[in-house]
């Protein structure tokens, strides 16, 4: 399937996501609406995996680079923190670490228990 056709489908769903974001009064961004719509379309077979595969995989591959702009933009906002920079960073870093640990350990532990039950 041609890249252009694939990109058309992906952009089309992104646009529908935008429309939903515009018309529905929920704080959900276009990207999340789009992700859910694409997921449902794939599940019920309106869109086949082959119809988006190469372009989707390419976009996902280069996704980290898309964050460079917003990351550099952080420099614009440091002024807002005036004096509270240390507690700000401490809270952000420490809580991120614990969220990762708690989520990961909980999932892993429950998976192991489930496997044991099946044995």
């Amino acid at each position: 399937m041609g890249y252009l056709f694939q990109f058309m489908i992906i952009s089309g769903i992104t646009f529908i996501g935008e429309l939903l974001h515009y018309f529905l009064p929920l704080p959900i961004p276009a990207s999340v609406y789009g992700m859910v719509i694409l997921f449902i379309c794939l599940l019920i077979g309106i869109i086949k995996e082959e119809e988006i595969k190469e372009t989707a995989d390419f976009l996902l591959l280069i996704m980290p680079i898309m964050f460079v702009g917003p990351s550099v933009g952080v420099m614009e906002n440091f002024g807002l923190l005036s004096g509270a920079l240390i507690p700000f960073l401490a809270i952000v870093l420490v809580s991120t670490f614990f969220i990762m640990v708690v989520t990961g350990i909980t999932a892993q532990k429950m998976m192991k228990d489930k496997e044991k039950q099946h044995e």
């Binding site: 992906i10 952009s11 992104t14 996501g17 929920l26 704080p27 959900i28 961004p29 276009a30 990207s31 999340v32 789009g34 992700m35 694409l38 997921f39 794939l42 995996e49 595969k53 989707a56 995989d57 976009l59 996902l60 996704m63 980290p64 898309m66 964050f67 460079v68 702009g69 917003p70 990351s71 550099v72 933009g73 952080v74 420099m75 906002n77 440091f78 807002l80 923190l81 507690p87 700000f88 960073l89 401490a90 809270i91 952000v92 809580s95 991120t96 670490f97 614990f98 969220i99 990762m100 640990v101 708690v102 989520t103 990961g104 350990i105 909980t106 999932a107 892993q108 429950m110 998976m111």
Partner: protein
């Protein structure tokens, strides 16, 4: 010279790609976790802009075209999720429990540490949406009286930090299960964490994508309820 930079639509684009490329080179050479290409690229560019006194807006004029692709790319996260749908169905309870646990941890940690430091309310509520994807976080912070600039900074630093520490955390705490790795990355580091999950494998990517959606929705529902508790 300055005029060319200001007018150029490609300066920021080239700089982003070049800095990211150098970040990948550095990571391959040193194999160190903190040499995350996104972190290296951001630090390099911030340094360069400060050194030559170039405005962020001049840089972003070119860089924004890469950011523009972020929405369709996030939409495409549905594909790994679809490919791993069986895992999602088989372990739904575990997945939801782990993500709820992660969300509660987030609010308890932020609330607790903010009280410890006697932070003012605005800063504190601006931090509450920090582990969800930027677009949701900005909308939410406005609703609860936070400052969007602080929220965006927190979201981005959170994501980069999650991507950087993930390999170390997984190794030290022996989190080897791909489902657990993906959920942990997505719950803590939203879309930036997910871009790290892409390196680890398809199950990790699928679980991390799912975590963005579920954590985002949970946060949107819970934060407006707990925000008034902060004084």
């Amino acid at each position: 010279m300055n005029k060319i930079m200001i007018d150029s639509a490609y300066f920021g684009l080239v700089l982003s790609l070049l800095a990211y490329y150098l970040g990948i080179k550095l990571k391959n050479k040193t194999k160190l976790a903190f040499c995350n290409p996104l972190l290296v690229a951001s630090v390099l560019i911030i340094g360069l802009l400060l050194l030559f006194d170039i405005d962020y807006s001049v840089f972003n004029q070119g860089a924004q075209y890469l950011t523009y692709l972020l929405t369709p790319a996030t939409v495409c996260l549905a594909l790994p999720l679809y490919r791993e749908f069986k895992i999602l169905k088989d372990h739904l309870i575990i997945i939801l429990t782990a993500l709820v646990a992660g969300c509660i941890t987030c609010f308890v940690m932020i609330g607790g540490m903010a009280m410890l430091w006697h932070l003012d309310r605005t800063l504190c509520v601006s931090l509450l949406p920090k582990s969800i994807t930027t677009a949701i976080a900005i909308g939410l912070t406005g609703e609860i009286g936070g400052i969007s600039g602080i929220t965006v900074a927190a979201v981005v630093i959170t994501g980069i930090f999650a991507a950087v520490i993930a390999p170390l955390v997984f190794k030290w705490l022996h989190i080897e299960n791909p489902i657990a790795q993906g959920l942990a990355l997505g719950a803590s580091g939203h879309a930036i964490g997910t871009s790290k999950a892409l390196e680890l494998g398809e199950i990790q990517t699928a679980m991390s994508s799912l975590a963005i959606v579920v954590t985002g929705i949970l946060t949107v529902m819970i934060v407006p309820l707990i925000a008034p508790l902060f004084k």
